[in-house]
């Protein structure tokens, strides 16, 4: 009987491996066939030689970095405050952090454009020119949208990290030594959250670099739209870029696995794209 279970176990694993690997191997093979008759990295060379690749990839990485910084600045103090001072507000905050699951990226960007293509007005006072009219404004909207997309994962990562330590004792100990709030968060809480934050940050990176929906409709020169556009009139380069993207996702997830090892692996999964 033990043998039979093992047989079916291997059967499903092999079937899964075939389904997983065929698209990857097929794409990899194809990406190496740019020059007729021989295998070469010519397609990869062509990708790296395209200045637009460097520009869009750099832009998306900058956006990812800004997203990570903004979400840390927003979610760490919030989650800390909820744990320490206002646990009564936890259900409200958690409800809001789950909302991005209900509002798909395409609907989010639809709503954001509807509001922010007009000047931001409160009563008779105009607070802002229409954000979508300026590069800075649109980039800010893009980052804000990414913070929203990353919110469920990032907030949960911070929250899980805070649960694993004694926030109150650490805070009181720091205060009794004369530390202010800023010092407490930056020098006591953040270092203890390192592993949790790194996981959240890497997952955010995996979501943002290569993201298409928001970047496309906000018309930003990001990596996702570039990849899509390249696919419309080239054959080999997009295959090479797909493999590179897969490698990047693999690297980000592999690092999450490394930093969170031994902390009870939780599923790190981004939303629909």
């Amino acid at each position: 009987m033990k043998k039979r279970t093992n047989f079916w176990g291997w059967f499903w694993v092999l079937l899964a491996m075939v389904y997983f690997l065929v698209p990857l191997v097929g794409t990899l093979e194809f990406s190496l066939e740019m020059l007729r008759g021989i295998r070469s990295f010519a397609a990869y060379q062509a990708v790296f030689d395209d200045p637009q690749f460097a520009e869009t990839f750099l832009f998306s990485n900058q956006m990812a970095l800004l997203t990570i910084i903004a979400s840390l600045a927003l979610f760490v103090p919030t989650a800390y405050w909820v744990h320490l001072r206002v646990p009564r507000w936890r259900p409200v905050v958690e409800f809001i952090t789950l909302m991005p699951f209900v509002i798909p990226a395409i609907v989010l960007v639809f709503g954001m454009i509807k509001i922010y293509k007009n000047p931001v007005v409160i009563g008779p006072v105009m607070l802002l020119q229409a954000p979508t009219n300026s590069v800075l404004g649109t980039n800010a909207l893009l980052v804000a949208g990414y913070v929203v997309l990353a919110m469920p994962y990032m907030y949960r990562a911070v929250d899980t990290g805070l649960r694993a330590m004694d926030v109150r004792t650490l805070t009181e100990a720091a205060q009794s030594l004369g530390a202010g709030w800023f010092t407490i968060i930056v020098r006591v809480i953040l270092p203890n959250l390192r592993a949790a934050l790194l996981s959240g940050a890497l997952l955010t990176f995996a979501i943002v670099v290569g993201e298409l929906t928001l970047a496309n409709f906000l018309d930003r020169p990001a990596f996702g739209p570039y990849l899509w556009l390249l696919g419309q009139h080239r054959a080999y380069e997009p295959a090479a870029l797909s493999i590179i993207s897969f490698g990047l996702t693999w690297a980000a997830l592999g690092m999450i696995y490394l930093v969170s090892r031994g902390r009870g692996g939780q599923a790190q999964v981004a939303g629909a794209r």
């Binding site: 093992n6 899964a16 909302m99 609907v107 298409l212 899509w228």
Partner: protein, 293 residues
């Protein structure tokens, strides 16, 4: 400033203002999450002159919109059920079938990568492999004499899109089900064996009923995951497949529905369906937590 020295009046007054610490978060959520959603809600109740109307919701029953919802629901449901069943079987294989640990670690890590490998690169990989000129399509045609496109397969259709979505659906199921399967207590199996139950009876009468809320809940999560997806479908079909997300995208590019309010109602309908799915998921999750962990 003390954390908590309850009792003195000055502290209790300060506590009542403690929620102000959440103000940045609430302001952000309002500006970039709640206000955009609310503006779609308001817009969907307005006609092109800005007057209150329910016509937009009645117009959702026009054939092209009905078909879009129907196709989105079918793709999501099929990939949720197929991905759910196969994902469960693979999760079972890596947790219960006594395979070596490295197989488990390797597959789970791979599932983490694959469930995040969505969007444009995924669509391109499938086009390269199963498109008209794809590696597998050509191989089958030239070597085995089987033209899958002649046999009715089309990557840029319902089946093709479902097959592509399964690439991130099925690993997501594995990632969520593997810990749930680990939560099955060895005592339950031993107790049932002591009472003379076969392995089949154990699964049918004990393990599956315990896991069922978790299985159904995760399938609902998969449903929502596919329902909201846009980039993969857009990159695969170039917008030719009539999904709700594709329709919303087209509406944003130009007023293809000839009525902005109808576009907002379309988006709102999506939010409602996703909301119902998330509500069901949370409810089923609560039930499954009674037994597991």
């Amino acid at each position: 400033m003390a954390v908590s020295t309850a009792g003195s009046p000055s502290v209790s007054r300060r506590l009542s203002l403690a929620w102000l610490g959440l103000l940045p978060f609430f302001l952000f959520a309002f500006a970039f999450l709640i206000a955009p959603a609310a503006s779609l809600l308001i817009g969907s109740f307005r006609d092109s002159q800005g007057a209150l109307t329910f016509q937009n919701f009645l117009d959702l029953s026009t054939p092209s919109i009905r078909n879009a919802y129907w196709l989105s629901i079918r793709v999501s449901a099929v990939t949720a059920v197929v991905g759910g069943v196969f994902g469960f079987l693979l999760a079972y294989a890596v947790t219960q079938a006594g395979l070596p640990v490295w197989v488990r670690t390797g597959l789970i890590t791979f599932c983490g990568v694959a469930s995040n490998f969505a969007g444009v690169p995924l669509a391109f990989a499938f086009i390269r492999v199963l498109g008209r000129a794809g590696v597998i399509s050509q191989m089958l045609k030239n070597d085995a004499g089987v033209d899958i496109y002649q046999l009715g397969f089309n990557l840029y259709s319902f089946e093709g899109l479902s097959l592509t979505y399964l690439y991130f659906q099925f690993p997501l199921m594995v990632l969520i089900m593997a810990p749930a399967l680990d939560g099955l207590k060895r005592e339950w199996r031993e107790a049932s064996a002591n009472l003379g139950a076969t392995s089949l009876q154990y699964w049918r009468l004990i393990a599956l009923p315990i896991l069922m809320p978790s299985i159904l809940g995760t399938m609902i999560l998969l449903f929502g995951n596919a329902f909201g997806a846009y980039a993969t479908a857009f990159a695969l079909t170039g917008g030719s497949l009539n999904l709700v997300t594709i329709q919303i995208g087209a509406q944003m590019r130009g007023d293809v529905l000839h009525n902005p309010g109808l576009g907002y109602a379309l988006a709102l309908g999506m939010v409602v369906i996703m909301g119902v799915a998330l509500g069901l998921y949370i409810w089923l999750q609560r039930i499954s937590e009674r037994w597991l962990r």
